[in-house]
Amino acid sequence: MALQSLDIKARSATTTPSPNVRIEGAGPVAKLIDISKCIGCKACQVACMEWNDLRDEVGTNVGVYDNPRDLTDQSWTVMRFSEVEVEQGRLEWLIRKDGCMHCADPGCLKACPSPGAIVQYSNGIVDFHEENCIGCGYCITGCPFNIPRISKKDNKAYKCTLCSDRVGVGLEPACVKTCPTGAIVFGSKVDMIHHAEGRITDLKERGYSNAALYDPKGVGGTHVMYVLQHGDKPELYANLPKDPNISPLVSLWKGVTKPLMSLGLGLAVFAGFFHYVTAGPKEVEEEEKTD
């Protein structure tokens, strides 16, 4: 348990209750990213590196602003730049801060086979506890947003922690603290939804009639939410999924099937044992031995 002061709501590969004796705290938290306010300065990327002591390899310029190109074990958040012509002749530069969405129903946690490698605090933060991680990559299979990355250095999975270590002591995440335009805000989920409503009203007044909050229900809502100018087309934002959910294949793999299959194996062994003590062994009859 990395943060003894936080209650745990769910723990990977655990069938007994998780430690949660404390009285209800402040309730779920959320980070709200207002894409309409983001200028793509990447200060949040730097703040993340700094607070979490991460240093990605210096890459090469591949002709786009995305740098690094993708999330890695060292880059838990990256800005994704999309140049889109939403209407003819009206170019828009949509910049989405990508990273873990901290799903209320996290596919990573559902898929993880190692007890306590992934925990979900009662404040909604989904955290990887690398000391329990076995490096199997099941979290990658389970995540609907393609977030976890396995380090080549230690074969452990890493991703955004929503600065659980800061939030646990009453600070806001490092990216929030550093954002110069106030595009990233943090607080209780209720407050963030309220704040988003104000922003959406404002955007609508300014002609973005489809402005909306991205808090996808398919994963039970998320603790990282976006304000999208084009809420009807989340795919415009570097393929943000319109209706993300845990893949039915993952649910099949991790749902009731496995307890039933395990029971099946146990029953097969019992059936054999009881067959032996009822029908008995198959012995070759005496008379055949002599003829």
Binding site: T15, P113, W253, P259, S262, V269, G272, K282, E283
Partner: protein, 205 residues
């Protein structure tokens, strides 16, 4: 006491036991990650990360030796009319009412079904296992394929483990079978009772 009949050569027995040992190790290390109830099995392999590391290598060893064994026994596992008649009376076989069963060759229909189940499942385990193998291969495959592969792998493994439970039990149940794989021979009476067509072939009687 009549002369025992040779059923398996030393090479065949070694091949079988390598497959068997590798299968048990692959099965236990795989089950460890299959459901939390089995996670304690990781202790047998030196903890979670070691279990994850070792499992696929054990699986590959099992695959290679299984294919060698399958090639040896391939021809003997084709179904015959006698097998179908035998299978129609499986209820009697299970109740140890063996009188009047058709004469069958070296393998009975049950053994043949297991053989073909393994011939299908083990390559599936290999292919799906490679797709999810961290850190060597999984990063090269798209996530939708990983999702299919984990389901295929878990399902094929489950079918195999069930099949092997039946296989091991059959060896315990049918007295005189285990020595075929430990010492290579079976008694004449055993051969005559369980595999009479094979017995005739071996002895000319």
């Amino acid at each position: 006491m009549s002369k025992p009949i040779q059923r398996y050569t030393a090479r065949e027995r070694s091949n079988h036991w390598i497959v068997a040992i590798a299968f048990v190790l692959a099965g236990l290390s795989g089950l460890a990650l299959f459901h939390p109830a089995f996670f304690f099995l990781t202790n047998l392999f030196g903890g979670g990360p070691w279990t994850r590391i070792l499992h696929p290598f054990i699986g590959v060893v099992m695959f290679l030796f299984f294919m060698a064994m399958a090639a040896r026994f391939w021809r003997l596992n084709h179904f015959t009319a006698a097998d179908r008649q035998w299978m129609a009376r499986i209820g009697d076989v299970i109740r140890n009412r063996d009188r009047g069963l058709p004469e069958i060759g070296k393998y009975n229909a049950g053994q043949k079904y297991l053989f073909w189940t393994m011939v299908v499942s083990i390559p599936l385990l290999l292919l799906s296992g490679i797709v999810v193998w961290q850190p060597w291969f999984a990063p090269y495959f798209p996530i939708w394929l990983l999702r299919i592969a984990v389901v295929v792998h878990a399902l094929a493994a489950w079918i195999m483990i069930l099949g092997i439970i039946v296989h091991v039990y059959a060896a315990i149940w049918v007295k005189g079978s285990v020595r075929a794989m430990t010492r290579g021979t079976v008694s004449e009476a055993w051969a005559k009772h369980h595999h009479r067509a094979w017995y005739r072939e071996m002895t000319g009687k």
